[in-house]
């Protein structure tokens, strides 16, 4: 009885010893690596804030409208963008190295999977960013044009265009990540097909008269402008 108990205890201690000797160094190494990565990331961010001026990129960010897209106040600066990117890149790199310190099949698969996924994540992120920029730009173009041309529901028109563009961007990004590819593709086809059908029906059944009225109104407006055409704005 005592022998059995001793054997069990010894086995437990052996297992604990084995686990401690197997995982503790890896855990300690992982913690140290994470701390080092954090310090390096923070240092890199601090250094970039101090050294990097980024005037040209700042101008590009402002002129392209990306600055206002990412930060509604428009105060996004290249320095901040680069510093934050470097900070997170170093931190994630440190995390991956820390995880790989365990050297198990599971951690190796995790690291490998993440490394393989990373470029696709970056590309997908850029696609979404480009989609967001394009949807805002074209949405505003349509909005201003529709208001100045006195078209009905300008905001709804602009919102619909924005949704369509963002949806296309999400489909392309999902395709890039091989994420629910068929679901998104099917949804996209159904949506586009449905939208085309709805517009066709709307124009064909109910909209033709409205469209005719709109065209007539525009014509009347033009004609009346012609009558008082001695007025020039310049």
């Amino acid at each position: 009885m005592i022998n059995t108990l001793r054997e069990i205890l010894e086995a437990a201690v052996d297992r604990l010893h084995h686990q401690v000797t197997t995982y503790l160094p890896s855990t300690l190494a992982a913690i140290i690596l994470l701390l080092v990565a954090y310090v390096l990331a923070a240092a890199a961010r601090w250094l970039i804030y101090r050294v990097f001026k980024g005037m040209t990129i700042d101008r590009f960010l402002r002129q392209s409208g990306v600055a206002f897209l990412l930060d509604r106040s428009g105060r996004l600066r290249a320095t901040r963008l680069v510093a934050e990117t470097a900070y997170w890149a170093i931190l994630i790199g440190g995390l991956l190295i820390a995880v790989s310190a365990f050297d198990t099949q599971l951690t190796n698969q995790m690291v490998e999977g993440f490394v393989l996924l990373l470029p696709k994540l970056v590309v997908a992120g850029l696609i979404l960013l480009a989609g967001a920029w394009l949807s805002q730009y074209l949405g505003r173009s349509l909005l201003v044009w529709a208001v100045n041309e006195n078209l009905p529901s300008p905001r709804r028109l602009a919102a619909a265009l924005r949704i369509i563009i963002m949806f296309v961007a999400v489909v392309v990004a999902a395709d890039q990540l091989s994420f629910a590819r068929n679901v998104f593709l099917a949804a996209f086809i159904i949506l586009v097909g449905g939208a085309v059908l709805a517009v066709s029906l709307a124009v064909g059944i109910a909209g033709s008269q409205g469209l005719r009225r709109l065209i007539e109104e525009k014509k009347e407006q033009r004609d009346s402008e012609g009558e008082r055409s001695l007025w020039t704005h310049l």
């Binding site: 909005l143 208001v147 100045n148 300008p154 004609d223 055409s229 001695l230 007025w231 704005h233």
Partner: protein
């Protein structure tokens, strides 16, 4: 200087003519009805006032589908003996070419200026082709200050109907005056006299393919002359009456091109206007007289409807472009207009703030430039409607006083412009001295280009 790329036929014509002291440029697009008379006036003006000079009349056409070019080439000066006391020493040449590139008045001017430079002209006058009130005296008034008084830029000064030239009266004149400090009353008038020196400066620039190629050309020419210290004066031309406007011409596009050019040049000449305060008159030549003007009908309800639509739908742009107080003021006016108020009034202070806020938003790229300026259309129409309501019973002199008051408000708000120009992070610049501000001295005669 930028390389001169004249079309083949224009180059050939220039080689035949070789030299001309005076060039008269007439841009056109489907102006067959009026351009013949403009050419006749040019011929008569040249023969009557400049018989000792060699001259050429150039029509730069944007691909007219009517008989514009034929009208130019066939226009004859009839009843010469009634007009002329002396015989011209040289017959004026006459050329008509289609221009290439971006369709618009600016591209037409570019061809005229290139030919003038090639012909080594001493003075150039440009006039619109839709004018009904043009007389031979206009050419004397536009060319004489350049040929005999050493001026580089002669701007027109007309009597116009109180509702005519509303972009000029509500935006371009007050803003240009407040920025550059000179009271050029018709900065986008359309008729100008120019020296060789100024023509060469224009041709040196590389922004001909921008809005300058279209309606932006007039303010571009005026601003360069004012900002770069060329000698500027004005000539009184009488009344400006023109042909019926092309109904297809789009107000939003026109506003975008003109205001876009003003704002683009504002950025370029920031160091010039930064420290200029107040304004001073610019020399005015010609005998001033009163004239009768065509009545003009304006539809105020339609303008206010456009403004109400803008208030309802363009909030996402205006809220970013305008300062919070300005935006609140506009929204309040929008509610008033929507309720159908008969005494709608967009006051000078609020309107000036709107224009200056848009200028700052353009400079800070708060919204894409095109969206920003196109979204100004409903606000501009609100201002025009307010102006029409306000001046309905006023006589021309009283209307001119109202415009003068608006200009003074723009001048008074210049510190506001400087404080918001670069955004909150750089507002301390408002107190700094510019590097190269050419500040006009109050007692100096005219701006000089040295």
């Amino acid at each position: 200087m930028a390389s001169i790329t004249l079309p083949h036929e224009a180059r050939q014509a220039a080689e035949v003519i070789r030299r001309a002291d005076i060039v008269i440029g007439i841009p056109s697009y489907n102006n067959g009805r009026t351009i013949g008379r403009v050419v006749q006036a040019a011929y008569a003006g040249l023969a009557k006032y400049f018989p000792q000079f060699t001259s050429v009349v150039i029509n730069s056409d944007g691909g007219s589908t009517d008989n514009t070019r034929e009208a130019v080439l066939s226009a004859r000066l009839e009843d010469q003996h009634l007009l002329l006391l002396n015989t011209p020493l040289f017959a004026a040449h006459r050329l008509s070419f289609p221009y290439h590139g971006v369709p618009g008045k600016g591209s037409a001017f570019r061809l005229i200026f290139q030919l003038a430079a090639k012909l080594e002209a001493k003075a150039v006058a440009v006039v619109d082709s839709d004018l009904r009130s043009i007389t031979p005296e206009w050419f004397d008034l536009l060319l004489r200050p350049v040929l005999f008084a050493g001026y580089d830029f002669v701007a027109p000064y007309y009597h116009r109907h109180k509702y005519d030239g509303t972009i000029t009266n509500s935006i371009v004149y007050p803003l240009t005056r407040a920025l550059y400090g000179y009271r050029v009353r018709q900065p986008i008038g359309g008729e100008f006299g120019l020296s060789t020196r100024l023509i060469n400066r224009y041709l040196q620039r590389d922004d001909w393919e921008t809005d300058v190629a279209r309606f932006g050309i007039d303010i571009w020419m005026t601003t360069i002359a004012l900002a770069e210290g060329f000698r500027v004066c004005q000539s009184f031309l009488g009344a400006k009456l023109h042909d019926a406007k092309d109904p297809s011409s789009d107000l939003t596009a026109m506003l975008e091109q003109v205001v876009g050019s003003v704002l683009m040049l504002m950025q370029e000449y920031e160091s010039v206007w930064w420290d200029r305060e107040g304004s001073r008159p610019v020399e005015l030549f010609g005998f001033r007289y009163d004239v009768g003007l065509d009545p003009i009908e304006v539809n105020v309800e339609r303008m206010l409807a456009a403004f109400v639509r803008g208030c309802r739908d363009l909030g996402e742009i205006w809220a970013v472009a305008l300062e919070p107080e300005t935006y609140a003021g506009i929204q309040a006016l929008g509610r008033q207009a929507a309720a159908g108020a008969r005494d709608f009034h967009l006051d000078d202070e609020l309107w000036a703030r709107v224009v200056l806020d848009f200028a700052c938003a353009y400079n800070r790229h708060r919204v894409a430039g095109g969206h920003l300026i196109r979204s100004l259309t409903p606000l501009y129409l609100a201002r025009v409607a307010s102006f029409v309501i306000e001046t309905r019973t006023l006589v021309p002199d009283q209307v001119e006083d109202k415009i003068e008051q608006l200009c003074l408000v723009f001048e008074r708000l210049k510190p506001y412009l400087k404080a918001h120009w670069d955004g909150p992070s750089r507002r301390n610049r408002a107190s700094r001295k510019p590097e190269s501000a050419a500040v006009p001295k109050p007692d100096s005669e005219v701006p000089r280009h040295d």
